[in-house]
Symmetry: C2
Subunit: 140 residues, 2 copies
């Protein structure tokens, strides 16, 4: 019977938790001069590429217009290569350059350390439980 309060709402809680988690990673990203989204896109293309832009957008949870801009900066920085698909002139196929791979290699250890400190702080099982629960709230 009560209006949905801001105190205990799913959108707010998810926002705050994400903020809290990301605060641990932000200094590292800033130190290497990449945004959170650029780093996400770069890793997705590295782990699963070469991929179409659309696929990358989906897997990195970034909208198409944002991806266009992000790719532009990653291309300028020499981390990503964009070419046209042979069989379909609409598609842009993205892959990580050697330089991009080196960049990822340089950052990954720090990232692992941060993630491990989170695991120590919150407990691996609790993180796993949260990940499982969160997945159930995502419609595919």
């Amino acid at each position: 019977m009560f209006p949905q309060s801001t105190r205990r709402s799913l959108p707010m809680a998810l926002l705050r938790a994400r903020e809290s988690v990301m605060s641990h990673f932000r200094p590292m990203l800033a130190a290497h001069n990449v945004t959170e989204q650029q780093w996400r896109v770069l890793r997705v293309v590295d782990e699963e590429g070469p991929l179409d832009a659309t696929e990358v957008a989906n897997r990195a949870s970034v909208l198409a217009p944002s991806l266009t801009r992000i790719i532009k900066t990653l291309e300028d920085r020499g981390f990503i290569l964009r070419r046209r698909a042979d069989d379909d002139g609409r598609r842009a196929v993205l892959s990580v350059t050697e330089s991009g791979k080196a960049f990822i290699e340089a950052i990954s250890p720090e990232q692992r350390r941060i993630y491990q400190s989170l695991e120590e702080k919150y407990g691996v099982e609790r993180i796993e439980k949260l990940l499982d629960l969160l997945e159930e709230f995502v419609e595919e």
Copy 2:
């Protein structure tokens, strides 16, 4: 030993879950011509106001520069009143106008309906469990 994959990372999972949840509310917000953040700020000021800008920013999980802009548009729309604190000329004290309250009243029923449909979809206990778990990941 493995690099933290994008497939099962806390930041990504939180992002996706939030996206998924918000997608249910977006059409309603668009129909009433408010952004998610404007709606959040308006409700916080209504529920807990009058409040300082800093307090509102904290409770609505919005950064100060964003709040400045948001307040400006809510003020222009006649939903929020901004005055200077008597005892401290730096502080801006925010409150909801009658028109703002009427706006909230007009939307709240829809919002409740949407939240209820989420409860039916995901189950109240599961949502409560998620809220509890998320709270543990927020450092105060």
